[in-house]
Symmetry: C2
DNA sequence: TCCAAACCTTGATCTGGGTCAAAGAAACGG
DNA sequence: CCGTTTCTTTGACCCAGATCAAGGTTTGGA
Protein backbone atom coordinates (compact mmCIF):
# COMPACT_ATOMS: atom_id res chain seq x y z
CA UNK A 1 0.00 0.00 0.00
CA UNK A 2 2.78 2.38 0.94
CA UNK A 3 4.57 0.87 -2.05
CA UNK A 4 5.02 4.13 -3.87
CA UNK A 5 7.01 3.74 -7.02
CA UNK A 6 10.45 5.34 -6.83
CA UNK A 7 9.28 8.55 -8.39
CA UNK A 8 12.21 10.90 -8.19
CA UNK A 9 10.61 14.02 -6.84
CA UNK A 10 12.37 16.91 -8.34
CA UNK A 11 11.31 19.70 -6.07
CA UNK A 12 11.07 17.69 -2.88
CA UNK A 13 8.60 20.04 -1.27
CA UNK A 14 7.26 17.09 0.67
CA UNK A 15 10.64 15.63 1.53
CA UNK A 16 10.47 14.86 5.25
CA UNK A 17 14.02 15.90 5.92
CA UNK A 18 12.87 19.36 5.11
CA UNK A 19 10.48 19.78 7.96
CA UNK A 20 11.73 17.19 10.42
CA UNK A 21 15.51 17.10 10.42
CA UNK A 22 16.26 20.47 8.97
CA UNK A 23 13.11 22.03 10.19
CA UNK A 24 11.47 25.35 10.33
CA UNK A 25 14.33 27.27 11.79
CA UNK A 26 16.59 26.75 8.83
CA UNK A 27 17.74 29.62 6.66
CA UNK A 28 16.88 29.26 3.04
CA UNK A 29 20.51 28.98 2.01
CA UNK A 30 20.87 26.01 4.34
CA UNK A 31 17.97 24.33 2.59
CA UNK A 32 19.65 25.17 -0.66
CA UNK A 33 22.83 23.38 0.39
CA UNK A 34 20.85 20.35 1.54
CA UNK A 35 19.04 20.20 -1.79
CA UNK A 36 22.40 20.00 -3.48
CA UNK A 37 23.59 16.88 -1.69
CA UNK A 38 20.27 15.06 -1.62
CA UNK A 39 19.41 11.89 -3.51
CA UNK A 40 16.75 9.18 -3.47
CA UNK A 41 16.99 5.43 -3.04
CA UNK A 42 14.27 2.83 -3.14
CA UNK A 43 14.15 -0.72 -1.84
CA UNK A 44 11.73 -3.57 -2.27
CA UNK A 45 10.01 -5.23 0.66
CA UNK A 46 12.44 -7.62 2.29
CA UNK A 47 15.58 -5.94 1.02
CA UNK A 48 18.23 -5.04 3.56
CA UNK A 49 19.26 -1.41 3.45
CA UNK A 50 22.35 -1.96 5.62
CA UNK A 51 23.68 -4.83 7.70
CA UNK A 52 24.75 -4.39 11.30
CA UNK A 53 28.45 -3.61 11.41
CA UNK A 54 28.66 -2.50 7.80
CA UNK A 55 29.86 0.92 6.98
CA UNK A 56 26.92 3.25 6.58
CA UNK A 57 27.98 6.16 4.46
CA UNK A 58 24.71 8.01 4.38
CA UNK A 59 21.97 9.40 6.56
CA UNK A 60 18.40 9.89 5.47
CA UNK A 61 14.75 9.67 6.20
CA UNK A 62 11.93 7.48 5.02
CA UNK A 63 9.68 9.08 2.43
CA UNK A 64 7.21 6.23 2.01
CA UNK A 65 6.85 2.70 3.28
CA UNK A 66 8.13 1.15 6.48
CA UNK A 67 11.56 -0.05 7.50
CA UNK A 68 12.64 -1.80 10.65
CA UNK A 69 15.79 -1.82 12.76
CA UNK A 70 16.65 -5.34 13.81
CA UNK A 71 19.22 -6.98 16.03
CA UNK A 72 20.10 -10.63 15.60
CA UNK A 73 21.88 -13.24 17.71
CA UNK A 74 24.08 -15.92 16.16
CA UNK A 75 21.46 -18.58 16.75
CA UNK A 76 18.91 -16.63 14.79
CA UNK A 77 16.84 -15.07 17.54
CA UNK A 78 15.92 -11.58 16.40
CA UNK A 79 14.55 -8.50 18.06
CA UNK A 80 13.25 -5.50 16.22
CA UNK A 81 14.58 -2.43 18.02
CA UNK A 82 12.86 0.27 16.06
CA UNK A 83 10.33 1.03 13.40
CA UNK A 84 10.91 3.67 10.73
CA UNK A 85 7.69 5.23 9.55
CA UNK A 86 7.51 7.91 6.85
CA UNK A 87 9.42 11.01 7.94
CA UNK A 88 11.58 9.10 10.45
CA UNK A 89 15.27 9.69 10.30
CA UNK A 90 18.01 7.07 10.28
CA UNK A 91 21.71 7.64 10.51
CA UNK A 92 24.44 8.27 12.99
CA UNK A 93 26.46 11.33 12.19
CA UNK A 94 29.90 10.92 13.67
CA UNK A 95 29.57 7.14 13.92
CA UNK A 96 31.00 4.65 11.46
CA UNK A 97 29.14 1.37 11.20
CA UNK A 98 25.49 0.53 11.59
CA UNK A 99 24.59 -0.89 15.00
CA UNK A 100 21.73 -2.98 13.62
CA UNK A 101 20.25 -4.23 10.37
CA UNK A 102 17.95 -1.83 8.58
CA UNK A 103 15.40 -3.82 6.59
CA UNK A 104 12.63 -2.69 4.28
CA UNK A 105 9.40 -4.10 5.67
CA UNK A 106 7.36 -2.81 2.76
CA UNK A 107 8.67 -1.24 -0.43
CA UNK A 108 10.28 2.00 0.63
CA UNK A 109 11.67 5.21 -0.76
CA UNK A 110 14.30 7.04 1.22
CA UNK A 111 15.66 10.52 0.94
CA UNK A 112 19.40 10.36 1.61
CA UNK A 113 22.45 12.51 2.05
CA UNK A 114 25.97 11.21 1.78
CA UNK A 115 27.42 11.35 5.25
CA UNK A 116 30.54 13.39 4.62
CA UNK A 117 28.84 16.41 3.08
CA UNK A 118 25.99 16.13 5.54
CA UNK A 119 28.40 16.17 8.45
CA UNK A 120 30.32 19.13 7.17
CA UNK A 121 27.05 20.93 6.58
CA UNK A 122 26.18 20.09 10.18
CA UNK A 123 29.42 21.66 11.35
CA UNK A 124 28.54 24.90 9.68
CA UNK A 125 24.86 24.84 10.60
CA UNK A 126 24.20 24.57 14.34
CA UNK A 127 20.45 24.34 13.77
CA UNK A 128 20.82 21.01 12.08
CA UNK A 129 22.95 19.54 14.85
CA UNK A 130 20.47 20.93 17.30
CA UNK A 131 17.48 19.40 15.56
CA UNK A 132 19.27 16.06 15.31
CA UNK A 133 19.94 16.12 19.04
CA UNK A 134 16.26 16.70 19.70
CA UNK A 135 15.26 13.87 17.39
CA UNK A 136 17.77 11.53 18.96
CA UNK A 137 16.52 12.37 22.45
CA UNK A 138 12.99 11.58 21.29
CA UNK A 139 14.12 8.26 19.88
CA UNK A 140 15.88 7.48 23.11
CA UNK A 141 12.68 8.18 25.02
CA UNK A 142 10.75 5.92 22.68
CA UNK A 143 13.35 3.17 23.02
CA UNK A 144 13.18 3.36 26.80
CA UNK A 145 9.43 3.31 26.80
CA UNK A 146 9.62 0.21 24.67
CA UNK A 147 11.91 -1.41 27.22
CA UNK A 148 9.01 -1.30 29.66
CA UNK A 149 6.84 -3.04 27.08
CA UNK A 150 9.43 -5.74 26.46
CA UNK A 151 10.39 -6.29 30.07
CA UNK A 152 7.14 -6.11 31.98
CA UNK A 153 4.04 -6.32 29.85
CA UNK A 154 1.92 -9.39 29.14
CA UNK A 155 1.41 -10.61 25.59
CA UNK A 156 -2.01 -8.97 25.39
CA UNK A 157 -0.67 -5.66 26.67
CA UNK A 158 2.20 -5.85 24.21
CA UNK A 159 -0.15 -6.26 21.25
CA UNK A 160 -2.34 -3.42 22.51
CA UNK A 161 0.73 -1.21 22.93
CA UNK A 162 1.86 -1.86 19.38
CA UNK A 163 -1.61 -1.20 17.98
CA UNK A 164 -1.79 2.04 19.99
CA UNK A 165 1.45 3.26 18.52
CA UNK A 166 0.46 2.46 14.97
CA UNK A 167 -2.99 3.94 15.51
CA UNK A 168 -1.47 7.10 16.93
CA UNK A 169 1.01 7.52 14.11
CA UNK A 170 -1.65 6.84 11.56
CA UNK A 171 -4.13 9.18 13.17
CA UNK A 172 -1.54 11.92 13.28
CA UNK A 173 -0.67 11.48 9.64
CA UNK A 174 -4.24 11.20 8.47
CA UNK A 175 -5.81 13.58 10.97
CA UNK A 176 -8.56 11.04 11.64
CA UNK A 177 -8.72 12.10 15.25
CA UNK A 178 -12.46 12.38 15.64
CA UNK A 179 -14.94 10.17 17.40
CA UNK A 180 -12.29 8.01 18.98
CA UNK A 181 -12.62 5.43 16.23
CA UNK A 182 -9.48 4.79 14.25
CA UNK A 183 -9.06 2.69 11.14
CA UNK A 184 -5.76 1.59 9.68
CA UNK A 185 -3.90 -1.14 7.86
CA UNK A 186 -1.37 -3.16 9.78
CA UNK A 187 1.94 -2.63 8.04
CA UNK A 188 3.52 -5.69 9.63
CA UNK A 189 3.16 -9.45 9.30
CA UNK A 190 2.42 -11.44 12.43
CA UNK A 191 6.03 -12.51 12.44
CA UNK A 192 7.32 -8.94 12.28
CA UNK A 193 5.01 -8.00 15.13
CA UNK A 194 6.36 -10.93 17.11
CA UNK A 195 9.91 -9.76 16.48
CA UNK A 196 9.00 -6.30 17.65
CA UNK A 197 7.26 -7.51 20.77
CA UNK A 198 9.55 -10.31 21.86
CA UNK A 199 6.87 -12.95 21.26
CA UNK A 200 6.27 -15.80 18.84
CA UNK A 201 4.00 -15.36 15.85
CA UNK A 202 1.55 -17.91 17.26
CA UNK A 203 1.11 -15.88 20.42
CA UNK A 204 0.61 -12.72 18.38
CA UNK A 205 -2.08 -14.42 16.34
CA UNK A 206 -3.83 -15.79 19.42
CA UNK A 207 -3.83 -12.46 21.22
CA UNK A 208 -5.12 -10.60 18.20
CA UNK A 209 -7.93 -13.14 17.99
CA UNK A 210 -8.62 -12.58 21.67
CA UNK A 211 -8.75 -8.79 21.29
CA UNK A 212 -11.12 -9.28 18.37
CA UNK A 213 -13.29 -11.69 20.34
CA UNK A 214 -13.45 -9.16 23.20
CA UNK A 215 -14.47 -6.34 20.87
CA UNK A 216 -11.38 -4.21 21.47
CA UNK A 217 -10.62 -4.26 17.76
CA UNK A 218 -12.38 -5.36 14.62
CA UNK A 219 -10.53 -7.12 11.81
CA UNK A 220 -11.35 -7.21 8.13
CA UNK A 221 -9.10 -9.61 6.30
CA UNK A 222 -5.78 -10.09 8.04
CA UNK A 223 -4.60 -6.55 8.08
CA UNK A 224 -7.40 -4.01 8.07
CA UNK A 225 -8.06 -2.92 11.65
CA UNK A 226 -10.85 -0.85 13.15
CA UNK A 227 -10.47 0.37 16.70
CA UNK A 228 -13.89 1.43 17.97
CA UNK A 229 -12.50 3.04 21.11
CA UNK A 230 -8.92 4.13 21.27
CA UNK A 231 -9.32 4.80 24.96
CA UNK A 232 -10.21 1.16 25.50
CA UNK A 233 -7.21 0.06 23.48
CA UNK A 234 -4.90 2.22 25.55
CA UNK A 235 -6.38 0.77 28.72
CA UNK A 236 -5.60 -2.67 27.40
CA UNK A 237 -2.03 -1.54 26.85
CA UNK A 238 -1.90 -0.90 30.59
CA UNK A 239 -0.47 2.45 29.86
CA UNK A 240 0.08 5.78 31.29
CA UNK A 241 2.60 6.90 28.81
CA UNK A 242 0.51 6.59 25.70
CA UNK A 243 -1.01 9.71 27.16
CA UNK A 244 -1.28 12.78 25.04
CA UNK A 245 -2.97 10.75 22.35
CA UNK A 246 -6.63 11.63 21.97
CA UNK A 247 -7.06 11.14 25.70
CA UNK B 1 31.31 2.05 48.76
CA UNK B 2 30.93 4.74 46.12
CA UNK B 3 29.42 6.80 48.91
CA UNK B 4 31.81 9.69 48.59
CA UNK B 5 30.94 12.51 50.93
CA UNK B 6 29.73 15.61 49.10
CA UNK B 7 33.13 17.17 49.06
CA UNK B 8 32.77 20.24 46.93
CA UNK B 9 35.73 19.92 44.65
CA UNK B 10 36.98 23.37 43.95
CA UNK B 11 39.09 22.79 40.92
CA UNK B 12 37.03 19.99 39.40
CA UNK B 13 39.93 18.57 37.46
CA UNK B 14 38.30 15.16 37.79
CA UNK B 15 34.79 16.36 37.06
CA UNK B 16 33.44 13.98 34.43
CA UNK B 17 31.65 16.66 32.49
CA UNK B 18 35.06 17.96 31.65
CA UNK B 19 36.24 14.98 29.66
CA UNK B 20 32.96 13.39 28.64
CA UNK B 21 30.42 16.02 27.78
CA UNK B 22 32.63 18.94 27.09
CA UNK B 23 35.58 16.89 26.05
CA UNK B 24 38.98 17.38 24.66
CA UNK B 25 38.03 19.62 21.81
CA UNK B 26 36.82 22.42 24.00
CA UNK B 27 38.53 25.75 24.09
CA UNK B 28 39.66 26.82 27.50
CA UNK B 29 37.25 29.73 27.61
CA UNK B 30 34.40 27.28 27.11
CA UNK B 31 35.60 25.31 30.09
CA UNK B 32 35.78 28.57 31.96
CA UNK B 33 32.14 29.31 31.22
CA UNK B 34 31.11 25.83 32.30
CA UNK B 35 32.98 26.20 35.56
CA UNK B 36 30.97 29.30 36.28
CA UNK B 37 27.57 27.65 36.09
CA UNK B 38 28.55 24.38 37.73
CA UNK B 39 27.35 23.13 41.11
CA UNK B 40 27.25 19.86 43.05
CA UNK B 41 24.35 17.91 44.53
CA UNK B 42 24.40 14.74 46.56
CA UNK B 43 21.70 12.20 47.30
CA UNK B 44 21.44 9.29 49.66
CA UNK B 45 20.78 5.77 48.48
CA UNK B 46 17.09 5.41 47.75
CA UNK B 47 16.41 9.10 47.22
CA UNK B 48 14.65 10.12 44.07
CA UNK B 49 16.51 12.74 42.05
CA UNK B 50 13.52 13.50 39.80
CA UNK B 51 10.15 11.91 39.22
CA UNK B 52 8.89 11.06 35.75
CA UNK B 53 6.92 13.99 34.41
CA UNK B 54 8.36 16.52 36.81
CA UNK B 55 10.14 19.52 35.49
CA UNK B 56 13.84 18.87 35.33
CA UNK B 57 15.66 22.16 35.39
CA UNK B 58 19.19 20.85 35.29
CA UNK B 59 21.52 18.57 33.40
CA UNK B 60 24.52 16.88 34.90
CA UNK B 61 26.68 13.85 35.24
CA UNK B 62 27.33 11.37 37.99
CA UNK B 63 30.59 11.92 39.86
CA UNK B 64 30.35 8.96 42.23
CA UNK B 65 27.81 6.28 43.02
CA UNK B 66 25.14 4.75 40.86
CA UNK B 67 21.74 6.01 39.81
CA UNK B 68 19.05 4.29 37.81
CA UNK B 69 16.42 5.40 35.35
CA UNK B 70 13.14 3.67 36.04
CA UNK B 71 9.73 3.48 34.41
CA UNK B 72 6.71 2.44 36.40
CA UNK B 73 3.20 1.28 35.55
CA UNK B 74 0.19 2.22 37.67
CA UNK B 75 -0.01 -1.27 39.12
CA UNK B 76 3.55 -1.06 40.38
CA UNK B 77 5.39 -3.08 37.78
CA UNK B 78 8.70 -1.34 37.17
CA UNK B 79 11.37 -1.55 34.55
CA UNK B 80 14.77 0.00 34.89
CA UNK B 81 15.61 1.59 31.54
CA UNK B 82 19.11 2.77 32.23
CA UNK B 83 21.95 2.75 34.66
CA UNK B 84 24.03 5.84 35.40
CA UNK B 85 27.58 4.99 36.37
CA UNK B 86 30.19 7.59 37.30
CA UNK B 87 30.81 9.94 34.37
CA UNK B 88 27.43 9.21 32.75
CA UNK B 89 25.37 12.16 31.71
CA UNK B 90 21.69 12.75 32.39
CA UNK B 91 19.53 15.49 31.06
CA UNK B 92 17.54 16.47 28.07
CA UNK B 93 18.50 19.84 26.71
CA UNK B 94 15.52 21.29 24.89
CA UNK B 95 13.05 19.00 26.66
CA UNK B 96 10.92 19.95 29.61
CA UNK B 97 9.96 17.12 31.94
CA UNK B 98 11.76 13.94 32.87
CA UNK B 99 10.61 10.89 30.94
CA UNK B 100 11.38 8.51 33.82
CA UNK B 101 12.27 8.49 37.49
CA UNK B 102 15.92 9.01 38.32
CA UNK B 103 16.72 7.24 41.57
CA UNK B 104 19.93 7.04 43.57
CA UNK B 105 20.81 3.37 43.89
CA UNK B 106 23.77 4.07 46.14
CA UNK B 107 24.70 7.40 47.68
CA UNK B 108 25.64 9.64 44.78
CA UNK B 109 27.25 12.94 43.99
CA UNK B 110 26.30 14.72 40.82
CA UNK B 111 27.89 17.57 38.98
CA UNK B 112 25.07 19.75 37.63
CA UNK B 113 24.41 22.77 35.46
CA UNK B 114 21.18 24.68 35.52
CA UNK B 115 19.47 24.02 32.23
CA UNK B 116 18.93 27.53 30.99
CA UNK B 117 22.55 28.69 31.17
CA UNK B 118 23.72 25.31 29.93
CA UNK B 119 21.45 25.56 26.92
CA UNK B 120 22.52 29.05 26.07
CA UNK B 121 26.12 27.96 26.42
CA UNK B 122 25.30 25.14 24.04
CA UNK B 123 23.94 27.64 21.53
CA UNK B 124 27.20 29.49 21.51
CA UNK B 125 29.41 26.41 21.63
CA UNK B 126 28.80 23.95 18.80
CA UNK B 127 31.31 21.48 20.24
CA UNK B 128 29.13 20.89 23.25
CA UNK B 129 26.02 20.24 21.17
CA UNK B 130 28.08 17.97 19.02
CA UNK B 131 29.45 16.00 21.94
CA UNK B 132 25.97 15.67 23.40
CA UNK B 133 24.68 14.28 20.12
CA UNK B 134 27.43 11.68 20.14
CA UNK B 135 26.66 10.70 23.72
CA UNK B 136 22.97 10.48 23.00
CA UNK B 137 23.59 8.28 19.97
CA UNK B 138 25.70 5.99 22.13
CA UNK B 139 22.96 5.80 24.73
CA UNK B 140 20.45 5.00 22.02
CA UNK B 141 22.67 2.16 20.82
CA UNK B 142 22.95 0.84 24.35
CA UNK B 143 19.20 1.07 24.85
CA UNK B 144 18.57 -0.85 21.64
CA UNK B 145 21.08 -3.50 22.54
CA UNK B 146 19.27 -3.87 25.83
CA UNK B 147 16.00 -4.37 23.97
CA UNK B 148 17.49 -7.57 22.56
CA UNK B 149 18.34 -8.68 26.09
CA UNK B 150 14.84 -7.95 27.36
CA UNK B 151 12.98 -9.37 24.41
CA UNK B 152 14.89 -12.49 23.50
CA UNK B 153 17.34 -13.70 26.08
CA UNK B 154 16.81 -16.39 28.72
CA UNK B 155 17.14 -15.58 32.41
CA UNK B 156 20.66 -17.04 32.54
CA UNK B 157 21.74 -15.04 29.50
CA UNK B 158 20.22 -11.91 30.98
CA UNK B 159 22.22 -12.26 34.18
CA UNK B 160 25.40 -12.95 32.23
CA UNK B 161 24.73 -9.89 30.05
CA UNK B 162 24.34 -7.65 33.07
CA UNK B 163 27.48 -9.01 34.72
CA UNK B 164 29.39 -8.50 31.46
CA UNK B 165 28.36 -4.88 31.31
CA UNK B 166 29.30 -4.19 34.91
CA UNK B 167 32.57 -6.08 34.53
CA UNK B 168 33.40 -4.14 31.40
CA UNK B 169 32.67 -0.78 32.96
CA UNK B 170 34.59 -1.68 36.03
CA UNK B 171 37.54 -3.02 34.10
CA UNK B 172 37.64 0.13 32.00
CA UNK B 173 37.58 2.36 35.05
CA UNK B 174 40.12 0.33 36.99
CA UNK B 175 42.27 -0.80 34.08
CA UNK B 176 42.20 -4.35 35.42
CA UNK B 177 42.19 -5.75 31.92
CA UNK B 178 44.86 -8.40 32.32
CA UNK B 179 44.59 -12.16 32.56
CA UNK B 180 40.92 -12.20 31.73
CA UNK B 181 40.00 -12.36 35.41
CA UNK B 182 37.87 -9.51 36.65
CA UNK B 183 36.83 -8.74 40.19
CA UNK B 184 34.14 -6.26 41.20
CA UNK B 185 31.40 -5.47 43.66
CA UNK B 186 27.82 -5.73 42.48
CA UNK B 187 26.35 -2.28 42.88
CA UNK B 188 22.78 -3.54 42.72
CA UNK B 189 20.49 -5.55 44.97
CA UNK B 190 18.88 -8.68 43.55
CA UNK B 191 15.67 -6.72 43.23
CA UNK B 192 17.32 -3.92 41.28
CA UNK B 193 18.89 -6.48 38.96
CA UNK B 194 15.48 -8.04 38.47
CA UNK B 195 14.02 -4.65 37.58
CA UNK B 196 16.78 -4.09 35.07
CA UNK B 197 16.41 -7.51 33.48
CA UNK B 198 12.64 -7.89 33.45
CA UNK B 199 12.76 -10.82 35.89
CA UNK B 200 11.74 -11.50 39.49
CA UNK B 201 14.26 -11.33 42.26
CA UNK B 202 13.86 -15.04 42.97
CA UNK B 203 14.83 -15.91 39.42
CA UNK B 204 17.84 -13.61 39.64
CA UNK B 205 18.96 -15.30 42.82
CA UNK B 206 18.52 -18.77 41.37
CA UNK B 207 20.41 -17.97 38.19
CA UNK B 208 23.28 -16.38 40.07
CA UNK B 209 23.48 -19.52 42.17
CA UNK B 210 23.50 -21.58 39.00
CA UNK B 211 26.32 -19.54 37.44
CA UNK B 212 28.25 -19.96 40.67
CA UNK B 213 27.63 -23.70 40.74
CA UNK B 214 28.82 -23.94 37.12
CA UNK B 215 32.01 -22.02 37.88
CA UNK B 216 31.25 -19.09 35.60
CA UNK B 217 31.54 -16.72 38.54
CA UNK B 218 32.69 -16.93 42.12
CA UNK B 219 30.87 -15.14 44.92
CA UNK B 220 32.19 -13.90 48.22
CA UNK B 221 29.42 -12.64 50.41
CA UNK B 222 26.42 -11.46 48.43
CA UNK B 223 28.07 -8.83 46.34
CA UNK B 224 31.75 -9.47 45.73
CA UNK B 225 32.13 -11.17 42.36
CA UNK B 226 35.13 -12.80 40.73
CA UNK B 227 34.89 -13.70 37.07
CA UNK B 228 37.67 -16.17 36.26
CA UNK B 229 37.12 -15.98 32.51
CA UNK B 230 35.42 -13.00 30.99
CA UNK B 231 35.31 -14.81 27.68
CA UNK B 232 33.26 -17.56 29.26
CA UNK B 233 30.91 -15.03 30.80
CA UNK B 234 30.36 -13.36 27.46
CA UNK B 235 29.63 -16.73 25.88
CA UNK B 236 27.01 -17.30 28.54
CA UNK B 237 25.50 -13.96 27.60
CA UNK B 238 24.97 -15.43 24.13
CA UNK B 239 26.53 -12.36 22.72
CA UNK B 240 28.14 -10.99 19.74
CA UNK B 241 27.78 -7.40 20.65
CA UNK B 242 29.73 -7.46 23.87
CA UNK B 243 32.60 -7.73 21.42
CA UNK B 244 35.39 -5.27 21.65
CA UNK B 245 35.79 -6.08 25.31
CA UNK B 246 38.99 -7.94 26.07
CA UNK B 247 38.20 -10.36 23.27
C1' DT C 1 25.22 -8.07 72.63
C1' DC C 2 20.83 -8.55 70.98
C1' DC C 3 16.88 -7.36 68.11
C1' DA C 4 14.85 -5.76 63.96
C1' DA C 5 14.97 -4.70 59.42
C1' DA C 6 16.82 -5.55 55.01
C1' DC C 7 18.47 -8.82 51.85
C1' DC C 8 19.11 -13.21 49.95
C1' DT C 9 18.35 -18.27 49.05
C1' DT C 10 15.78 -22.33 48.23
C1' DG C 11 11.69 -25.25 47.74
C1' DA C 12 6.98 -26.40 45.88
C1' DT C 13 3.70 -25.36 42.71
C1' DC C 14 1.38 -22.90 38.97
C1' DT C 15 0.84 -20.70 34.46
C1' DG C 16 1.67 -17.67 30.38
C1' DG C 17 3.67 -18.16 26.50
C1' DG C 18 6.67 -21.28 23.73
C1' DT C 19 6.89 -25.40 20.72
C1' DC C 20 5.17 -28.67 17.56
C1' DA C 21 1.74 -29.82 14.28
C1' DA C 22 -1.92 -29.33 11.04
C1' DA C 23 -5.03 -27.05 8.36
C1' DG C 24 -7.39 -22.52 6.46
C1' DA C 25 -7.07 -18.07 3.63
C1' DA C 26 -4.86 -14.91 0.39
C1' DA C 27 -1.74 -13.68 -3.10
C1' DC C 28 0.56 -14.87 -7.24
C1' DG C 29 2.69 -16.73 -11.28
C1' DG C 30 1.69 -19.26 -15.30
C1' DC D 1 -8.47 -20.78 -13.32
C1' DC D 2 -5.53 -23.66 -10.81
C1' DG D 3 -1.47 -25.05 -8.15
C1' DT D 4 2.01 -23.17 -5.19
C1' DT D 5 3.72 -20.32 -1.94
C1' DT D 6 3.28 -17.33 1.80
C1' DC D 7 0.74 -15.88 5.70
C1' DT D 8 -2.45 -16.86 9.42
C1' DT D 9 -5.19 -19.42 12.70
C1' DT D 10 -6.07 -22.99 15.99
C1' DG D 11 -5.18 -27.04 18.86
C1' DA D 12 -2.45 -30.00 22.13
C1' DC D 13 1.20 -30.15 25.06
C1' DC D 14 5.27 -28.53 27.64
C1' DC D 15 8.55 -25.75 30.21
C1' DA D 16 10.99 -21.45 31.86
C1' DG D 17 10.09 -18.37 34.89
C1' DA D 18 6.44 -16.44 38.09
C1' DT D 19 4.24 -16.96 42.44
C1' DC D 20 3.75 -18.40 47.10
C1' DA D 21 6.07 -19.69 51.25
C1' DA D 22 9.63 -20.40 54.54
C1' DG D 23 14.11 -19.90 56.31
C1' DG D 24 18.92 -17.99 56.28
C1' DT D 25 22.35 -14.08 56.52
C1' DT D 26 23.96 -9.53 57.04
C1' DT D 27 23.71 -4.84 58.82
C1' DG D 28 22.95 -1.50 62.06
C1' DG D 29 21.01 0.75 65.91
C1' DA D 30 20.06 0.75 70.93
Amino acid sequence: MQATAPTLMQDCSDCPIRHRAVCARCESDELERLEQIKYYRSFEAGQTVVWAGDKMDFVGSVVSGIASLTQTMEDGRTQMVGLLLPSDFVGRPGREGAAYDVVATTDIVMCCFRKKPFESLMERTPHIAHRLLEMTLDELDAAREWMLVLGRKTAREKIASLLSIIARRDATLNATANSGEVVFDLPLTREAMADYLGLTLETVSRQISALKRDGVIHLEGKRHVTVPSVRRLIEEAGDDSDGGFLV
